[in-house]
Amino acid sequence: MNPQTGPGRTGRRVAVTGMAVTTGYGHGVDVLRDGIYSGVPAFVPVTRFDTSRYRVGVAAQGAAELDLDTELKTLTEEACKQAGLTQGERANTLLVAARHADPAVSRLPRQEQESRPISETAQWLARECGFGAAGRTYINACVAASTAIAEAGTLISSGRHDRVVVVAGHLVDAESFTTFNAGKALAVDGRLRPFSSGRKGLLLGDGAGAVVLEAADSREEMSPLAYLDGWGMAGDAHHVCQPHPQGLGMARSIQLALCRAGLGPQDVDYVNAHGTGTPYNDSAETAGLHRAFGEHTERIPVSSTKSMHGHALQAAGMVEFVICVLALQSGRLPVNSGYLGPDPDCRLDLVLDTPRERAAEHVISLNSAFGGANTALVVSAA
């Protein structure tokens, strides 16, 4: 395959050259790899704040004292080091971010909030890490990180930038627990069981990460970990917080991503699903997968690794993107944990019990969010 053009109608091919992540398993890609391939979920009793007033007290929480901005800086440095970026190359790098508003800012007097935009993390990181500029900060919830990665793909493939670093972060906090508790969205049985009968809802998890994306033809000293070959985004046009029951937006995002990658359903080796473990999401996502993949659907292995690392909200797409790269590198597909039995509305080839050996070439990472937002990223082996 021509490394300059990629397989589809994308312009320049987009290489993944560095990645770093922190999850409920702890700090680092190695720790995440060990965790998800162990099949043991990272859910533990939350110690970061008092959960006694909530219906659920567990999450995939890492170190209680984590500070999001500090962790993002550490991860950004690690990802850039892996990519082998010089200071000069960093100076020509754009940083794009994904996160939610800092709850501490809403506790300030209104007038003081004015100087604390949500994008201040990105601007601080750009300065601290020696990047040329800070770009946008995506705040569209559970698709924030995946949308940021898609924008980075567009900026690189179109020739606007040679290199974009994407960072994303969400740490389990009392504010997200309060809203998810109020929405009765947390799994009262303490397990996140995607696509399973008897699934009760989701569990939250820490997630922070950074990836370095570069035009594959932009540097000679480059060792790609994988390629971002396709991305698609589409809306459900359906509801404020429920997915379209037929998965219309999800299906279109998959079709757009595959089209951009120059691939078809027959080329897909694995899907890392959004799979939140809520009754609405998982049946709608299954419908979207059937709509997009047709007769190929039930032979494509699927798992939602949220079943092990929890839902990292604005960072979900980052954590799951990294897991897709790990699946390509290791030739093993991570499991869909917590499965109790089949749901007739979720007819999929789920990866159950143990990781599945598969020399995957192309995998898809899916995410969706309130407001009917859907994203699909096609990640290909290096």
Partner: protein, 181 residues
């Protein structure tokens, strides 16, 4: 109608308009903050000016995306959430989805049938410039044919009013095919 190099702005509305002091209409399902109602109101005003009554024409609707731009986001909803945390009182179930900035765009997209990307950003620079730039990127990239850009900021000082703008952006016609509007 204004034309940039790659896109054309079909409509541009500002809220509140000069001399306008009304609050946006209540939006069922949203509480404690004018953020969502303002977005829905200004989006409707922009789209109805161009397309009349909803839904959007089928040949445009499916590939119309939405970009919401806000430096601070919905600080009123955030304050409602943190107040619940700090006081130990139960939060309204509505805050579950209202605390997600993209949720209100689901109201707009459902009403108008918009099937393009649903994106919310906090810009690093000028909100209008970045919103339009992102719309151009989505159009050039083939992710959308038209993009509704909504800018919104809640007031942070006494005596100021909340403010919003909405623009409908489309690809510029190739040279020599411009219309006379």
């Amino acid at each position: 109608m204004t034309t940039a190099s790659k896109t054309t702005t079909l409509e541009h509305v500002v809220w509140p308009a000069e001399g306008e002091r009304e609050q946006p209409p209540n939006l069922p399902g949203f509480t404690a903050s004018p953020f969502g109602p303002i977005i829905a109101h200004v989006a409707d005003r922009c789209l109805s000016r161009h397309w009349g009554e909803p839904p959007a024409p089928p040949e445009r609707a499916g590939r119309t995306g939405m970009v919401m731009v806000s430096r601070l986001g919905d600080m009123a909803t955030e304050a409602a959430v943190t107040s619940s945390v700090d006081s130990g009182t139960k939060a309204s179930p509505l805050l579950f989805y209202q605390s997600v900035p993209s949720a209100v765009l689901g109201v707009v997209s459902a009403r108008w049938g918009l099937g393009g990307p649903v994106i919310c950003i906090s810009p690093a620079g000028d909100p209008l410039a970045e919103g339009v730039e992102l719309a151009e990127l989505l159009i050039e990239d083939g992710s959308a044919a038209d993009v509704l850009v909504v800018l919104v900021e809640l007031a942070t000082r006494e005596g100021e009013s909340d403010r919003a703008e909405a623009l409908l952006v489309t690809a510029s016609a190739p040279r020599g095919e411009e219309g006379g509007a």
